[in-house]
Symmetry: C2
Subunit: 420 residues, 2 copies
């Protein structure tokens, strides 16, 4: 084994507006350590690129293009949702990974993703150990859902939080000014199928009960139509209008997603997605108020133009730390964000063993949700507020954000094909 | 009649992210001419404030607060959708307006809105003439729909255009990076019930057929499901994914809104809004591709954080010009934006008689839509491109935009109540 080996980096799962800043952190730090890291190969479409030996040679990109990853949303090398099975269930896949790594002299494995990806990184490290294949496996945290354990927060979340809080504040002003004669109820549906972090972030826009959003619907609080409608009605009567941030993960008391529980089309098919539509319908039906609704969907997690500078820095920092940890001889760990002070907000990079991250989800504490279940508490606000701080807009050209386009040149294959 | 008289200003119809910049232009210019204009009274909730004598005394706001209107979305004094009927049909309302104006020594009437508002301003000027009541009536253009005639473009449109083009570019990167294994079709529904200006603006993000948005659905082009689905399929096969900007005003061949034509809920009611949902369902049903959709709704017209600087300047300029025209003795006119050069883009303020504006709609020329009906042409791009140029973000505090809150103190009433 040479002392100078190549690195493999892959992006996994849904992108965020700052995941490429982590890629930038990895590649720039590797380039700064050329004596020990050769090339950084990226997996085309995530881990699938490793399995199919479809590697992208990032050394073919200029320093300027790599720097531009900092301000480019999406996943620049392609991503995928693909969870490797257990070591015994699908040994062939792990063998293939090691085979590809070996063929390209890969001694560093950086896997940038959520819980499933950390689990994969951990399994790869175990399997490599078993084969005595020398590789350092480092997970890099990423998820808009903010559901990784141990780390104070997840890169990607702060920016979606900033987008949601900004959007509901802005739309709230729109609703407020017309409510006397027009729309009285507005619903913004946001992501977060299993935890209410993103919906909670909307609450940052509201400095008092009279300010939007008036109500937040969390997946953690079973949805009760009567309580909800009474709240909406009360809010309209009190403030003249009611603005709502609803998590896509809102569930009825029997645990069913609200979005699955509702309407059917003319053919009798269940209606596709969008609990905002169902909530709006309920409001119209029972209270008779004029409503509007918005579904932010991918707009929220790709909105690099309104990314949080704190989030951006942390995304870069975990990428850089991953390479530094690997160079320091560590493996089977993930860099984490450690909050050392809330006022002023201070953070540093720490680390956690992948065995402690894999298959654990971080839930939102009940103490972050107000007793009535419709607002965030002061503790929640204190936790969330620093994460959205700071602006770092991308460069604009002709009025639109100018995002990087990579060449993504493939590394010549050395192995026979492998079917995934 | 004193030489120094008060002004009345009202905001009408749906707000834009820059209508308050027009208000700022009116108020700052009036304040700079204190010898001739006394106070600027704003109508609370638009023209309703005049009818109910609910006037806001803007002189109670500091210069700093008025300046902050430049970066505050919504309609700071409240708006409404309320069209005054014809002069003969509802003479009592016009009489009431003049009575309120007279009671408060109002000699200037500034009405900030779309086509209906310009019609109202014109009628008020005719009625005042008839009564020999001395008042100068100036319309101020505003509409995200860009559908006022004569003026090159409408303040409010450039910012929603910038929002839509930015959002589809960003969401497009998101879809692109996951398309190999996940979502292949993404639909962003945007405003524009009668004209495709806003949908067309999405096209600015696409510099080649391979770039999002791949398809635009215009209200001007009758929707043909088979042609649409064939295009989507072709796009996915060619580029791996397909991103679509769909106007809410898309209509079927028989002239029905697509959003009304489709699905029904379990109670048999027509489904509420959202042709994105219907298009997505069609794609799933006939092509089997995984889809996602977003409905931007109010987010797009309140997104001051991504407003166009060109738009902002023009919004301010038409407000300022309205006051200057009035001071120059003009009445029954509307300031317009005149494009004097495309490269470099240059514009100046002109004017048009209200009689030429009222009840005329500006349609999008067919030459702005590609022959196949799914993209914009070079001519359209040349028209749109300058309107989104320049950034002028609001101040941020703690990571969120800090918008102005006005005191909106009422002027004491002098007249008996009037029921609207």
């Amino acid at each position: 084994m040479s002392t100078r080996r190549n690195a493999f980096y892959a992006q996994s799962g849904g992108p965020t507006s700052v995941i490429n800043a982590s890629a930038c952190g990895v590649i720039e730090t590797a380039r700064a350590n050329r004596s020990r890291i050769g090339r950084v190969y990226a997996g085309r479409n995530g881990i699938l690129g490793a399995l199919t030996e479809d590697l992208i040679d990032t050394s073919r990109e200029t320093a300027r293009t790599i720097a531009a990853l900092r301000h480019t949303p999406g996943a620049a090398f392609g991503s995928c949702r693909y969870k490797l099975k257990g070591l015994e269930e699908n040994k062939a896949q792990y063998e293939r990974l090691i085979e590809v790594f070996d063929a390209h002299d890969i001694g560093y494995f950086f896997y940038n993703g959520g819980g499933d990806s950390q689990d994969t990184a951990w399994k790869v490290s175990q399997f490599a150990d078993r084969l005595d294949y020398p590789i350092r496996c480092i997970g890099i945290p990423k998820t808009v859902d903010n559901d990784l354990p141990v780390t104070d927060n997840c890169p990607g979340f702060g920016s979606v939080a900033k987008y949601v809080a900004t959007s509901i504040r802005e739309a709230g002003l729109d609703v407020a000014c017309m409510a006397a004669t027009s729309t009285k109820v507005f619903i913004l549906e946001v992501m977060g199928r299993h935890a209410g972090w993103i919906a909670a972030a909307g609450g940052l826009a509201s400095r008092s009960p009279s300010e939007p959003p008036h109500l937040i619907l969390f997946p953690e609080i079973p949805f009760d139509p009567e309580v909800f409608l009474a709240r909406v009605d009360n809010c309209v009567k009190r403030f003249g209008y009611c603005t709502i941030v609803a998590s896509e993960g809102v569930r009825t008391k029997d645990g069913k997603f609200l979005a699955d529980a509702g309407t059917r089309d003319v053919f009798g098919h269940a209606q596709l997605g969008g609990n905002a539509v169902i909530l709006a319908q309920m409001v119209k039906e029972k209270l008779g108020y004029k409503y509007h609704w918005a579904v932010a969907d991918y707009l929220q997690r790709s909105a690099r133009h309104i990314a949080s500078k704190t989030d951006l820095r942390q995304a870069y920092a975990v990428g850089r730390a991953a390479v530094r940890f690997a160079l320091a001889g560590q493996t089977a760990i993930m860099p984490i964000i450690v909050r050392t002070s809330n006022r002023p907000y201070r953070w540093k990079i720490g680390q956690v063993d992948l065995s402690r991250v894999a298959n654990r989800e971080r839930k939102m504490p009940r103490s972050y949700i107000s007793r009535n279940g419709f607002r965030i508490t002061g503790r929640c606000r204190a936790y969330l507020a620093p994460l959205v701080r700071g602006e770092s807009p991308p460069p604009f050209k002709g009025g639109l954000p100018e995002y990087a386009t990579l060449k993504n040149i493939a590394v010549p294959k050395k192995l026979p094909a492998f079917s995934v």
